[in-house]
Symmetry: C2
Subunit: 220 residues, 2 copies
Amino acid sequence: MRGEIPDVVVGRLPRYLRALHALQAAGAEVVSSQDLGKRLQVTPAQIRKDLSYFGRFGKQGRGYNITYLLEDLTQILGLDRRWPVILVGVGRLGRAVLGYPGFTPEGFDVVGAFDADEALVGQQVSGVMVRHVSDMASFIQQHSVRIAIVAVPARAAQGMADRLVGYGIQAILNYAPVNLQVPPPVRVRTLDPVLALEALTFYLQTLERQREPAPSGGRG
Amino acid sequence: MRGEIPDVVVGRLPRYLRALHALQAAGAEVVSSQDLGKRLQVTPAQIRKDLSYFGRFGKQGRGYNITYLLEDLTQILGLDRRWPVILVGVGRLGRAVLGYPGFTPEGFDVVGAFDADEALVGQQVSGVMVRHVSDMASFIQQHSVRIAIVAVPARAAQGMADRLVGYGIQAILNYAPVNLQVPPPVRVRTLDPVLALEALTFYLQTLERQREPAPSGGRG
DNA sequence: GAGTGTGAATTTCTTCACAGCT
DNA sequence: AGCTGTGAAGAAATTCACACTC
Protein backbone atom coordinates (compact mmCIF):
# COMPACT_ATOMS: atom_id res chain seq x y z
CA MET A 1 0.00 0.00 0.00
CA ARG A 2 2.75 2.49 -0.75
CA GLY A 3 3.49 1.46 -4.29
CA GLU A 4 2.96 3.63 -7.32
CA ILE A 5 -0.55 4.92 -7.76
CA PRO A 6 -1.96 4.23 -11.23
CA ASP A 7 -2.64 7.32 -13.31
CA VAL A 8 -6.26 6.33 -13.81
CA VAL A 9 -6.76 6.38 -10.08
CA VAL A 10 -5.16 9.80 -9.73
CA GLY A 11 -7.47 11.01 -12.45
CA ARG A 12 -10.53 9.94 -10.49
CA LEU A 13 -9.58 11.34 -7.11
CA PRO A 14 -10.44 14.95 -7.98
CA ARG A 15 -13.87 13.81 -9.07
CA TYR A 16 -14.42 12.12 -5.74
CA LEU A 17 -13.32 15.27 -4.02
CA ARG A 18 -15.80 17.37 -5.92
CA ALA A 19 -18.68 14.98 -5.31
CA LEU A 20 -17.85 14.97 -1.61
CA HIS A 21 -17.90 18.76 -1.51
CA ALA A 22 -21.33 18.72 -3.10
CA LEU A 23 -22.57 16.17 -0.59
CA GLN A 24 -21.17 18.18 2.28
CA ALA A 25 -22.81 21.32 0.98
CA ALA A 26 -26.06 19.39 0.84
CA GLY A 27 -25.69 18.60 4.52
CA ALA A 28 -24.75 14.93 4.30
CA GLU A 29 -22.37 13.55 6.89
CA VAL A 30 -21.76 10.05 5.63
CA VAL A 31 -21.67 8.46 2.20
CA SER A 32 -21.30 4.90 1.00
CA SER A 33 -19.28 3.84 -2.00
CA GLN A 34 -22.62 2.90 -3.49
CA ASP A 35 -24.05 6.43 -3.20
CA LEU A 36 -20.87 8.08 -4.38
CA GLY A 37 -20.64 5.69 -7.28
CA LYS A 38 -24.14 6.50 -8.42
CA ARG A 39 -23.33 10.20 -8.56
CA LEU A 40 -20.16 9.68 -10.52
CA GLN A 41 -21.13 6.65 -12.55
CA VAL A 42 -18.33 4.62 -11.09
CA THR A 43 -18.76 1.21 -9.51
CA PRO A 44 -18.68 1.04 -5.72
CA ALA A 45 -15.90 -1.52 -5.86
CA GLN A 46 -13.80 0.86 -7.87
CA ILE A 47 -14.20 3.64 -5.39
CA ARG A 48 -13.29 1.39 -2.51
CA LYS A 49 -10.28 0.04 -4.36
CA ASP A 50 -9.11 3.51 -5.37
CA LEU A 51 -9.30 4.80 -1.83
CA SER A 52 -7.61 1.70 -0.48
CA TYR A 53 -4.41 2.75 -2.22
CA PHE A 54 -4.10 5.48 0.37
CA GLY A 55 -5.49 4.01 3.53
CA ARG A 56 -8.64 2.87 5.23
CA PHE A 57 -11.09 5.70 5.43
CA GLY A 58 -14.42 3.96 5.79
CA LYS A 59 -16.36 2.32 8.55
CA GLN A 60 -18.00 -1.02 7.88
CA GLY A 61 -21.72 -0.84 7.99
CA ARG A 62 -21.70 2.98 7.78
CA GLY A 63 -19.69 4.19 4.87
CA TYR A 64 -17.34 7.16 4.76
CA ASN A 65 -17.47 10.17 7.04
CA ILE A 66 -17.57 12.96 4.50
CA THR A 67 -15.67 15.52 6.52
CA TYR A 68 -12.82 13.16 7.29
CA LEU A 69 -12.61 11.76 3.79
CA LEU A 70 -12.55 15.28 2.39
CA GLU A 71 -9.68 16.15 4.67
CA ASP A 72 -7.76 13.08 3.67
CA LEU A 73 -8.36 13.47 -0.05
CA THR A 74 -7.49 17.15 0.12
CA GLN A 75 -4.17 16.29 1.64
CA ILE A 76 -3.53 13.38 -0.72
CA LEU A 77 -4.02 15.68 -3.71
CA GLY A 78 -1.83 18.36 -2.19
CA LEU A 79 -4.73 20.78 -1.90
CA ASP A 80 -4.23 21.62 1.76
CA ARG A 81 -2.40 24.75 0.64
CA ARG A 82 -2.66 27.31 -2.12
CA TRP A 83 -0.83 26.93 -5.42
CA PRO A 84 0.49 29.90 -7.34
CA VAL A 85 -0.01 29.51 -11.07
CA ILE A 86 1.12 31.57 -14.02
CA LEU A 87 -0.68 32.00 -17.31
CA VAL A 88 1.27 32.26 -20.53
CA GLY A 89 -0.54 33.74 -23.50
CA VAL A 90 -3.04 36.53 -22.94
CA GLY A 91 -5.04 36.19 -26.12
CA ARG A 92 -8.71 35.41 -26.33
CA LEU A 93 -8.31 32.11 -24.57
CA GLY A 94 -5.89 33.44 -21.96
CA ARG A 95 -8.26 36.23 -21.05
CA ALA A 96 -11.03 33.70 -20.57
CA VAL A 97 -8.75 31.75 -18.26
CA LEU A 98 -7.98 34.89 -16.27
CA GLY A 99 -11.67 35.63 -15.98
CA TYR A 100 -12.60 32.12 -14.90
CA PRO A 101 -13.71 32.31 -11.27
CA GLY A 102 -13.34 28.58 -10.64
CA PHE A 103 -9.64 28.43 -9.80
CA THR A 104 -9.45 30.56 -6.67
CA PRO A 105 -11.98 28.67 -4.55
CA GLU A 106 -10.13 25.44 -5.30
CA GLY A 107 -6.78 26.72 -4.16
CA PHE A 108 -5.20 27.97 -7.37
CA ASP A 109 -4.04 31.58 -7.59
CA VAL A 110 -3.14 32.98 -10.96
CA VAL A 111 -0.40 35.25 -9.72
CA GLY A 112 0.94 36.45 -13.03
CA ALA A 113 0.26 36.48 -16.76
CA PHE A 114 2.76 36.70 -19.58
CA ASP A 115 2.64 37.59 -23.25
CA ALA A 116 5.09 38.46 -25.98
CA ASP A 117 2.94 41.34 -27.20
CA GLU A 118 4.27 44.61 -25.77
CA ALA A 119 0.86 46.20 -26.22
CA LEU A 120 -0.56 43.92 -23.56
CA VAL A 121 2.29 44.23 -21.10
CA GLY A 122 1.54 46.45 -18.14
CA GLN A 123 -2.21 46.00 -18.35
CA GLN A 124 -4.28 44.38 -15.69
CA VAL A 125 -6.63 41.64 -16.94
CA SER A 126 -9.20 40.43 -14.45
CA GLY A 127 -6.98 41.71 -11.71
CA VAL A 128 -3.82 40.03 -12.94
CA MET A 129 -0.84 42.03 -14.20
CA VAL A 130 0.41 41.13 -17.67
CA ARG A 131 4.18 40.95 -17.93
CA HIS A 132 6.54 40.36 -20.80
CA VAL A 133 7.58 36.76 -21.38
CA SER A 134 11.18 37.75 -20.91
CA ASP A 135 10.37 38.28 -17.23
CA MET A 136 9.08 34.75 -16.68
CA ALA A 137 12.25 33.17 -15.38
CA SER A 138 12.74 35.55 -12.49
CA PHE A 139 9.04 35.68 -11.70
CA ILE A 140 8.78 31.91 -11.50
CA GLN A 141 11.72 31.75 -9.18
CA GLN A 142 10.62 34.60 -6.96
CA HIS A 143 7.13 33.28 -6.53
CA SER A 144 8.11 29.61 -6.39
CA VAL A 145 5.69 28.84 -9.20
CA ARG A 146 5.55 25.21 -10.24
CA ILE A 147 2.39 25.22 -12.38
CA ALA A 148 1.86 27.03 -15.68
CA ILE A 149 -1.20 27.35 -17.85
CA VAL A 150 -0.29 27.51 -21.53
CA ALA A 151 -2.69 29.41 -23.76
CA VAL A 152 -0.41 30.47 -26.60
CA PRO A 153 -0.97 29.70 -30.28
CA ALA A 154 -0.35 26.11 -31.31
CA ARG A 155 2.85 26.88 -33.17
CA ALA A 156 4.38 28.54 -30.11
CA ALA A 157 3.28 25.99 -27.53
CA GLN A 158 6.13 23.49 -27.67
CA GLY A 159 8.77 26.18 -27.53
CA MET A 160 7.02 27.80 -24.62
CA ALA A 161 6.77 24.48 -22.81
CA ASP A 162 10.50 23.97 -23.26
CA ARG A 163 11.20 27.42 -21.81
CA LEU A 164 8.87 26.85 -18.88
CA VAL A 165 10.48 23.54 -18.06
CA GLY A 166 13.85 25.22 -18.26
CA TYR A 167 12.67 27.77 -15.70
CA GLY A 168 11.62 25.05 -13.30
CA ILE A 169 7.94 24.58 -14.08
CA GLN A 170 6.88 21.04 -13.21
CA ALA A 171 3.25 20.90 -14.29
CA ILE A 172 1.53 22.35 -17.35
CA LEU A 173 -2.13 22.77 -18.06
CA ASN A 174 -2.14 23.05 -21.83
CA TYR A 175 -4.90 24.70 -23.84
CA ALA A 176 -2.99 24.62 -27.12
CA PRO A 177 -4.06 21.95 -29.62
CA VAL A 178 -0.70 20.21 -29.71
CA ASN A 179 0.88 17.22 -28.07
CA LEU A 180 3.45 18.77 -25.76
CA GLN A 181 6.59 16.81 -25.11
CA VAL A 182 8.19 17.35 -21.74
CA PRO A 183 10.89 15.48 -19.85
CA PRO A 184 10.08 13.61 -16.65
CA PRO A 185 9.12 14.38 -14.00
CA VAL A 186 7.21 17.25 -15.64
CA ARG A 187 3.52 16.54 -16.22
CA VAL A 188 1.14 17.89 -18.81
CA ARG A 189 -2.63 17.84 -19.07
CA THR A 190 -4.15 19.06 -22.27
CA LEU A 191 -7.67 20.42 -22.65
CA ASP A 192 -8.66 20.23 -26.25
CA PRO A 193 -12.26 20.84 -27.24
CA VAL A 194 -11.77 19.83 -30.85
CA LEU A 195 -10.34 16.44 -29.93
CA ALA A 196 -13.30 15.94 -27.63
CA LEU A 197 -15.77 16.84 -30.37
CA GLU A 198 -14.05 14.54 -32.82
CA ALA A 199 -14.40 11.59 -30.49
CA LEU A 200 -18.08 12.47 -30.09
CA THR A 201 -18.74 12.51 -33.82
CA PHE A 202 -17.36 9.01 -34.05
CA TYR A 203 -20.14 7.85 -31.77
CA LEU A 204 -22.76 9.89 -33.59
CA GLN A 205 -21.78 8.22 -36.81
CA THR A 206 -21.96 4.83 -35.12
CA LEU A 207 -25.55 5.61 -34.18
CA GLU A 208 -26.45 6.20 -37.78
CA ARG A 209 -25.02 2.88 -38.85
CA GLN A 210 -27.16 1.17 -36.24
CA ARG A 211 -30.29 2.73 -37.66
CA GLU A 212 -29.59 1.19 -41.03
CA PRO A 213 -30.93 -2.29 -41.81
CA ALA A 214 -28.77 -4.86 -40.05
CA PRO A 215 -28.06 -8.36 -41.40
CA SER A 216 -29.86 -9.98 -38.47
CA GLY A 217 -32.28 -7.93 -36.40
CA GLY A 218 -33.08 -8.12 -32.70
CA ARG A 219 -31.20 -6.88 -29.71
CA GLY A 220 -27.83 -8.24 -28.65
CA MET B 1 -12.83 -6.75 -37.10
CA ARG B 2 -16.33 -5.35 -36.82
CA GLY B 3 -16.77 -5.66 -33.10
CA GLU B 4 -17.09 -2.76 -30.72
CA ILE B 5 -14.25 -0.28 -30.77
CA PRO B 6 -12.80 0.35 -27.30
CA ASP B 7 -13.30 3.88 -26.00
CA VAL B 8 -9.58 4.31 -25.44
CA VAL B 9 -9.01 3.69 -29.11
CA VAL B 10 -11.67 6.19 -30.15
CA GLY B 11 -10.03 8.71 -27.87
CA ARG B 12 -6.71 8.32 -29.66
CA LEU B 13 -7.96 8.52 -33.24
CA PRO B 14 -8.44 12.30 -33.24
CA ARG B 15 -4.87 12.69 -32.08
CA TYR B 16 -3.65 10.58 -34.96
CA LEU B 17 -5.71 12.69 -37.30
CA ARG B 18 -4.16 15.88 -36.02
CA ALA B 19 -0.62 14.55 -36.23
CA LEU B 20 -1.26 13.42 -39.79
CA HIS B 21 -2.52 16.86 -40.74
CA ALA B 22 0.65 18.35 -39.33
CA LEU B 23 2.78 15.89 -41.25
CA GLN B 24 0.88 16.59 -44.44
CA ALA B 25 1.30 20.32 -43.95
CA ALA B 26 5.02 19.70 -43.55
CA GLY B 27 5.08 18.02 -46.94
CA ALA B 28 5.44 14.40 -45.86
CA GLU B 29 3.77 11.73 -47.95
CA VAL B 30 4.37 8.60 -45.93
CA VAL B 31 4.70 7.94 -42.24
CA SER B 32 5.54 4.81 -40.25
CA SER B 33 3.90 3.84 -37.00
CA GLN B 34 7.30 4.47 -35.47
CA ASP B 35 7.43 8.10 -36.62
CA LEU B 36 3.85 8.80 -35.70
CA GLY B 37 4.36 7.20 -32.32
CA LYS B 38 7.31 9.40 -31.55
CA ARG B 39 5.26 12.52 -32.23
CA LEU B 40 2.42 11.40 -30.04
CA GLN B 41 4.30 9.44 -27.42
CA VAL B 42 2.43 6.29 -28.26
CA THR B 43 4.07 2.96 -29.07
CA PRO B 44 4.18 1.93 -32.72
CA ALA B 45 2.44 -1.32 -31.87
CA GLN B 46 -0.43 0.57 -30.35
CA ILE B 47 -0.91 2.70 -33.41
CA ARG B 48 -0.91 -0.33 -35.68
CA LYS B 49 -3.32 -2.17 -33.43
CA ASP B 50 -5.65 0.82 -33.18
CA LEU B 51 -5.79 1.27 -36.92
CA SER B 52 -6.27 -2.45 -37.46
CA TYR B 53 -9.70 -2.19 -35.85
CA PHE B 54 -10.83 -0.37 -38.96
CA GLY B 55 -8.92 -1.95 -41.77
CA ARG B 56 -5.51 -2.29 -43.35
CA PHE B 57 -4.19 1.08 -44.27
CA GLY B 58 -0.46 0.56 -44.38
CA LYS B 59 2.01 -0.92 -46.77
CA GLN B 60 4.65 -3.27 -45.47
CA GLY B 61 8.11 -1.90 -45.78
CA ARG B 62 6.79 1.62 -46.46
CA GLY B 63 4.39 2.75 -43.79
CA TYR B 64 1.16 4.68 -44.23
CA ASN B 65 0.34 6.95 -47.12
CA ILE B 66 -0.61 10.11 -45.27
CA THR B 67 -3.20 11.33 -47.72
CA TYR B 68 -5.04 8.04 -47.82
CA LEU B 69 -4.89 7.46 -44.10
CA LEU B 70 -6.19 10.98 -43.52
CA GLU B 71 -9.11 10.28 -45.80
CA ASP B 72 -9.90 7.05 -44.05
CA LEU B 73 -9.59 8.44 -40.55
CA THR B 74 -11.66 11.45 -41.49
CA GLN B 75 -14.43 9.20 -42.63
CA ILE B 76 -14.12 6.87 -39.64
CA LEU B 77 -14.54 9.80 -37.27
CA GLY B 78 -17.45 11.16 -39.26
CA LEU B 79 -15.56 14.28 -40.22
CA ASP B 80 -16.18 14.04 -43.95
CA ARG B 81 -19.01 16.53 -43.50
CA ARG B 82 -19.76 19.59 -41.41
CA TRP B 83 -21.47 19.35 -38.03
CA PRO B 84 -23.81 22.06 -36.80
CA VAL B 85 -23.35 22.72 -33.10
CA ILE B 86 -25.22 24.89 -30.64
CA LEU B 87 -23.81 26.65 -27.62
CA VAL B 88 -25.85 26.95 -24.45
CA GLY B 89 -24.79 29.61 -21.99
CA VAL B 90 -23.36 32.88 -23.27
CA GLY B 91 -21.48 33.97 -20.18
CA ARG B 92 -17.77 34.56 -19.97
CA LEU B 93 -16.97 31.00 -20.91
CA GLY B 94 -19.59 30.79 -23.63
CA ARG B 95 -18.29 33.95 -25.27
CA ALA B 96 -14.79 32.48 -25.26
CA VAL B 97 -16.18 29.40 -26.97
CA LEU B 98 -17.91 31.54 -29.60
CA GLY B 99 -14.68 33.40 -30.19
CA TYR B 100 -12.56 30.28 -30.50
CA PRO B 101 -11.45 30.00 -34.11
CA GLY B 102 -10.50 26.33 -33.88
CA PHE B 103 -13.87 24.74 -34.49
CA THR B 104 -14.67 25.89 -38.00
CA PRO B 105 -11.56 24.56 -39.74
CA GLU B 106 -12.22 21.16 -38.20
CA GLY B 107 -15.77 20.91 -39.47
CA PHE B 108 -17.81 22.24 -36.57
CA ASP B 109 -20.13 25.18 -37.11
CA VAL B 110 -21.59 26.93 -34.12
CA VAL B 111 -24.88 27.78 -35.73
CA GLY B 112 -26.68 29.16 -32.73
CA ALA B 113 -26.21 30.28 -29.14
CA PHE B 114 -28.75 30.27 -26.34
CA ASP B 115 -29.08 31.97 -23.00
CA ALA B 116 -31.78 32.54 -20.43
CA ASP B 117 -30.79 36.19 -19.99
CA GLU B 118 -33.10 38.38 -22.07
CA ALA B 119 -30.46 41.09 -22.13
CA LEU B 120 -28.24 38.89 -24.26
CA VAL B 121 -30.94 37.65 -26.59
CA GLY B 122 -30.88 39.25 -30.02
CA GLN B 123 -27.21 40.17 -29.87
CA GLN B 124 -24.58 38.78 -32.16
CA VAL B 125 -21.51 37.39 -30.43
CA SER B 126 -18.57 36.59 -32.68
CA GLY B 127 -21.00 36.37 -35.55
CA VAL B 128 -23.45 34.05 -33.83
CA MET B 129 -26.96 35.13 -32.94
CA VAL B 130 -27.97 34.68 -29.31
CA ARG B 131 -31.45 33.27 -28.86
CA HIS B 132 -33.58 32.58 -25.83
CA VAL B 133 -33.35 29.09 -24.38
CA SER B 134 -37.05 28.65 -24.93
CA ASP B 135 -36.33 28.55 -28.66
CA MET B 136 -33.89 25.68 -28.44
CA ALA B 137 -36.28 22.84 -29.21
CA SER B 138 -37.43 24.18 -32.53
CA PHE B 139 -33.98 25.38 -33.50
CA ILE B 140 -32.43 21.99 -32.83
CA GLN B 141 -35.05 20.32 -34.93
CA GLN B 142 -34.91 22.80 -37.79
CA HIS B 143 -31.15 22.68 -38.06
CA SER B 144 -30.81 18.96 -37.31
CA VAL B 145 -28.39 19.72 -34.50
CA ARG B 146 -27.06 16.70 -32.68
CA ILE B 147 -24.18 18.28 -30.74
CA ALA B 148 -24.43 20.87 -27.97
CA ILE B 149 -21.75 22.71 -26.06
CA VAL B 150 -22.80 23.37 -22.48
CA ALA B 151 -21.28 26.44 -20.84
CA VAL B 152 -23.89 27.27 -18.23
CA PRO B 153 -23.25 27.61 -14.48
CA ALA B 154 -22.64 24.34 -12.64
CA ARG B 155 -25.99 24.37 -10.86
CA ALA B 156 -27.87 24.67 -14.17
CA ALA B 157 -25.87 22.14 -16.14
CA GLN B 158 -27.68 18.90 -15.32
CA GLY B 159 -31.09 20.43 -15.94
CA MET B 160 -29.88 21.83 -19.22
CA ALA B 161 -28.44 18.48 -20.24
CA ASP B 162 -31.79 16.85 -19.53
CA ARG B 163 -33.56 19.41 -21.70
CA LEU B 164 -31.08 19.04 -24.52
CA VAL B 165 -31.41 15.28 -24.49
CA GLY B 166 -35.17 15.71 -24.55
CA TYR B 167 -34.83 17.85 -27.66
CA GLY B 168 -32.83 15.17 -29.43
CA ILE B 169 -29.23 16.19 -28.70
CA GLN B 170 -26.99 13.14 -28.78
CA ALA B 171 -23.57 14.50 -27.87
CA ILE B 172 -22.58 17.10 -25.30
CA LEU B 173 -19.31 18.90 -24.85
CA ASN B 174 -19.55 20.01 -21.26
CA TYR B 175 -17.59 22.91 -19.78
CA ALA B 176 -19.49 22.94 -16.50
CA PRO B 177 -17.68 21.43 -13.52
CA VAL B 178 -20.24 18.73 -12.89
CA ASN B 179 -20.64 15.08 -13.75
CA LEU B 180 -23.48 15.11 -16.24
CA GLN B 181 -25.73 12.08 -16.29
CA VAL B 182 -27.29 11.25 -19.63
CA PRO B 183 -29.11 8.20 -20.91
CA PRO B 184 -27.57 6.05 -23.63
CA PRO B 185 -26.82 6.46 -26.42
CA VAL B 186 -26.09 10.10 -25.56
CA ARG B 187 -22.40 10.85 -25.00
CA VAL B 188 -20.73 13.50 -22.88
CA ARG B 189 -17.19 14.80 -22.79
CA THR B 190 -16.30 17.17 -20.00
CA LEU B 191 -13.49 19.70 -20.10
CA ASP B 192 -12.63 20.69 -16.58
CA PRO B 193 -9.49 22.70 -15.92
CA VAL B 194 -9.78 22.42 -12.15
CA LEU B 195 -9.93 18.63 -12.22
CA ALA B 196 -6.88 18.67 -14.45
CA LEU B 197 -4.98 20.95 -12.07
CA GLU B 198 -5.92 18.84 -9.10
CA ALA B 199 -4.48 15.74 -10.71
CA LEU B 200 -1.31 17.71 -11.44
CA THR B 201 -0.86 18.81 -7.84
CA PHE B 202 -0.97 15.20 -6.79
CA TYR B 203 2.14 14.58 -8.83
CA LEU B 204 3.83 17.75 -7.63
CA GLN B 205 3.33 16.61 -4.09
CA THR B 206 4.73 13.20 -4.97
CA LEU B 207 7.88 14.92 -6.19
CA GLU B 208 8.34 16.59 -2.85
CA ARG B 209 8.07 13.31 -1.01
CA GLN B 210 10.80 11.91 -3.22
CA ARG B 211 13.13 14.70 -2.25
CA GLU B 212 12.82 13.81 1.40
CA PRO B 213 15.16 11.24 2.92
CA ALA B 214 14.00 7.80 1.89
CA PRO B 215 14.28 4.67 4.05
CA SER B 216 16.54 2.94 1.54
CA GLY B 217 18.28 4.99 -1.14
CA GLY B 218 19.29 4.04 -4.65
CA ARG B 219 17.28 3.65 -7.79
CA GLY B 220 14.55 1.03 -8.21
C1' DG C 1 -28.25 -5.53 8.18
C1' DA C 2 -25.17 -2.64 5.96
C1' DG C 3 -20.99 -1.62 3.92
C1' DT C 4 -15.82 -1.65 3.94
C1' DG C 5 -11.28 -3.62 2.44
C1' DT C 6 -9.08 -6.77 -0.30
C1' DG C 7 -7.25 -11.08 -2.40
C1' DA C 8 -8.72 -13.59 -6.45
C1' DA C 9 -10.96 -13.80 -10.83
C1' DT C 10 -12.00 -11.52 -14.82
C1' DT C 11 -11.86 -8.30 -18.30
C1' DT C 12 -9.59 -4.89 -20.86
C1' DC C 13 -5.61 -2.82 -22.76
C1' DT C 14 -0.91 -2.90 -24.25
C1' DT C 15 3.15 -4.90 -25.93
C1' DC C 16 5.66 -8.62 -28.08
C1' DA C 17 7.30 -10.96 -31.79
C1' DC C 18 7.12 -12.66 -36.15
C1' DA C 19 5.03 -14.21 -40.71
C1' DG C 20 4.42 -11.95 -44.75
C1' DC C 21 4.37 -8.17 -48.10
C1' DT C 22 6.92 -4.37 -50.78
C1' DA D 1 15.92 -4.22 -45.43
C1' DG D 2 11.86 -2.09 -43.66
C1' DC D 3 7.45 -2.01 -41.79
C1' DT D 4 2.67 -3.67 -41.40
C1' DG D 5 -0.98 -6.58 -39.32
C1' DT D 6 -2.04 -9.66 -35.85
C1' DG D 7 -2.36 -13.77 -32.86
C1' DA D 8 -0.36 -14.68 -28.42
C1' DA D 9 1.62 -13.11 -24.19
C1' DG D 10 1.80 -9.98 -20.70
C1' DA D 11 0.37 -6.09 -17.90
C1' DA D 12 -3.04 -3.22 -16.04
C1' DA D 13 -7.47 -2.13 -14.60
C1' DT D 14 -11.87 -3.53 -13.08
C1' DT D 15 -15.09 -6.34 -10.85
C1' DC D 16 -16.30 -10.13 -7.88
C1' DA D 17 -17.24 -12.03 -3.65
C1' DC D 18 -16.73 -12.59 0.97
C1' DA D 19 -14.48 -12.27 5.65
C1' DC D 20 -14.87 -8.90 8.74
C1' DT D 21 -16.51 -4.82 11.38
C1' DC D 22 -19.79 -1.54 13.13
